[in-house]
Subunit: 450 residues, 2 copies
């Protein structure tokens, strides 16, 4: 009965340029990279993106929704990340209001976003998009932007866009001049009469919701915006309609996945946070001092984690060998570590791991969970020693929290009895799963007991 992970609606993977890792995306990447080439002289399909990020009023919160934090990072940064990791998008133009310009610059700096240009937003969505298009059209001497062949238009508040659908709308736009993602309607659409009563209802099966991303031949959409009226710019909502009306370009419609949805209400922020937490909780790496010994209690814990946590990939790595394998796991963006300190109550291993994590930039985008596990035979080790440790982990946890690392301690009882050991390992796995799932910063530095 538990809702599993998003399955087919696979959401954003973290980090830049993961395109080579999946089938469809790999094809997309290969096609567009070879088309775009690396030699500027050759024929290439130049693709840019425009993101209107003006103001949203629907959320009922004072902060514009694209700046609302999810795991302490603004929503728009997730959307930028989703576009950025697509190697064949050359430029990303974001239209923000003057008052949010500095906030936006600091977001780009803090989260190290690349290929972003900022332009000033207009007072409506269409005016903001037009500003973005103008910046791409003008081949100014000092501008690092150049006119693309195809331009993607996307929303700042749709963070879960996949490379696959971007590829589909771009290739359809290349062929048809315009293309946009659509979804089935969730509710029936009706038309009210002037007195607030039902005039008629629309047949649900014959209509679709128009979503984002959309893509256009640049000349088509730029022409449409140049020709369209002030009324269009003020009250229009649909770019595909402008291309149809002013350039007679009938957009190709592309079926999108459910995760193209637009973060509109507060409940959508909750949903986005849960989805993001789920995405970064799909792998746990068990780190131990020696990999070779199969009877190592760390391996026992690894086995129990594997059997207790479905949907989670559990790997293990040694801290020794100058940690080269571990470096790779960090590069591959695993956000959860269980560091095993065997039969000892000091934090030596955990400290080594924390140093490696601090040196990497892994925790810039997402909070990283580290569970420092200590196996102790409660009958042999005096509890007072544990209390000293506790104080130590509190201080460590405060320090690494500043680097977005969430550190928790976990004592696992190590009785001689085999069955009791299995039970305490199982308890430990449940606690680790909870910590990884919730990423609760209020409980950092606690020493939990299994």
């Amino acid at each position: 009965m538990e809702p599993g992970p998003p399955g087919s609606s696979g959401p954003v993977e973290p980090g830049p340029c993961l395109s080579g890792q999946r089938g469809a995306d790999h094809a997309a990447s290969a096609f567009l990279q070879s088309a775009a080439g690396t030699e500027p002289g050759r024929h290439s399909l130049a693709v840019a993106a425009v993101l209107p990020a003006g103001c949203g009023e629907r959320m009922g919160v004072p902060t514009p929704k694209q700046f609302c934090p999810i795991l302490e990072r603004p929503l728009i940064s997730y959307t930028l990340q989703a576009l950025e990791r697509v190697c064949w998008i050359k430029d990303i133009v974001v239209a923000v209001t003057g008052e949010n310009m500095e906030v936006m610059k600091s977001i780009i700096q803090k989260y190290q976003h690349k290929r972003i240009s900022l332009v000033e937003a207009g007072v409506t969505r269409h005016r903001s998009i037009f500003s973005g298009l103008k910046a791409l059209a003008e081949d100014q001497l000092n501008s690092k932007l150049s006119k693309p062949e195809v331009v993607i238009i996307h929303d700042a508040v749709r963070p879960f866009v996949e490379e696959d659908v971007l590829f589909k709308v771009v290739t359809a736009a290349k062929e048809h001049g315009a293309a946009g993602a659509i979804r089935p309607l969730v509710s029936t659409v009706i038309s009210p009469s002037a007195d607030g009563c039902l005039d008629h209802s629309l047949e649900r099966a014959r209509h679709r919701a128009s979503e984002m991303p959309q893509a256009f031949l640049f000349d088509v959409i730029y022409e449409a915006y140049q020709q369209c009226t002030d009324y269009d710019l003020e009250f229009g909502t649909e770019c595909l309609q402008l291309a149809l009306k002013y350039c007679r370009t009938k957009a190709k419609l592309v079926e999108g996945s459910p995760d193209l949805w637009k973060v509109t209400y507060k409940r959508d922020l909750y949903a986005a946070e849960s989805i993001i937490k789920e995405i970064i909780s799909q792998e746990i790496c068990v780190v131990m001092d020696s990999k070779e010994d199969n009877k190592h209690v760390g391996h026992l814990l690894e086995e129990v984690l594997k059997s207790e946590l479905n949907h989670v990939k559990v790997t293990s790595e040694a801290l020794c060998h100058a940690g080269r394998h571990l470096q790779q796991i960090i590069l591959d963006q695993c956000y959860n570590f269980v560091c095993v300190n065997v039969m000892t109550s000091d934090f030596q291993e955990t400290q080594k791991l924390l140093s490696m994590l601090e040196e990497s930039n892994l925790s810039i985008l997402y909070p990283v969970v580290v569970v420092s596990v200590h196996f102790l035979d409660f009958k042999l080790v005096p509890p007072s020693q544990k209390m000293e440790n506790l104080m130590q982990i509190k201080e460590f946890s405060k320090k690494v929290k500043e680097r977005n690392i969430l550190l928790y301690g976990l004592l696992i009882s190590y009785p001689q009895d085999e069955q009791k050991l299995q039970e305490s390992l199982r308890q430990g796995a449940i606690i680790i799963a909870s910590l990884v799932k919730e990423r609760n910063s209020g409980l950092i530095g606690q020493l939990l007991i299994a």
Copy 2:
């Protein structure tokens, strides 16, 4: 920047018949109760509700979405609770498929739902609604159902419906014959051509999404269903349209709040869980052995909780005086308790509270959080004593988990230094806030340290 509580989009309050507690709902209740009366002979507005709860295929999970668990309770139970607490709805008819009949019966029994009748669902939504209406129309001798004047139709997967909007659609239906809740469109609606291209887009401002609840004069909607074709029953999606087509009844459209939304995708389950957690986390009661002493450290903790937790109502109550005030707080559905055990390391106070909670039925609908707080001067009390306690609280927590009570322990350091005491109280408040917010069952029985 934190997303606050749902504000104007106030969601379901737990428990039956809370109608008297809010302005609009009070008016609604007064009107309909006086209309409905308690004397069966007098003129009354008899209202019933029909809930189609057949099958949903969109979620991508094997369990039909109305049976998906949120905090371990099936979604449909929250919707039933929302209708049940509206005193003037006399009967609630739920249409479920034969294969889910037993599951539904056990849900009604486990969560003690009242005024529910079950009928067998049809293969489409319209057929299920028709089944529900038939059950209300047939004044059979053995049936406890009688024909209502107005019937509400609602979805099993819209748990956050308010009494206010139910009142509005019922009164509008009484006047106009039919009425339904609507919402602004989030996306532009388009009509595709046969070749999968854009035919035209609809002006967003001139259309609305038709949501639930809807209400009808019973005779109008029953007549419409009796007349409508098999095609309507198979492929139709809109009850308002049936009333228009077959009874020339133009439905009144009523603006609904954002929380009328339909739980459709997995992300909606995540959103619903977060909203429900937020609703039941809005009040914390600090329980202590003596209320009179203003210098009681429990009161200090209460003050810090008040200043640290915005949006949360913090009250305090004594366990003594046979706990009469505390009984009232439990009756008023507070789901979070902080039980203060001063300068002691036993659980006497907490055990008294747990017994009271177990005797009440409070935890039937929602998991109740109890934090057992112990103030200890770490320099004076030997740590080994705490370890014994720890083992104790683990056992307690397992036992009360069976009754849906989540028990955690919290040691707060009680140093002589005033400033240090404030700091440890603040740490304690942060931990309490985390536990209340997350309701994490994987961490029950842990002894946390502030």
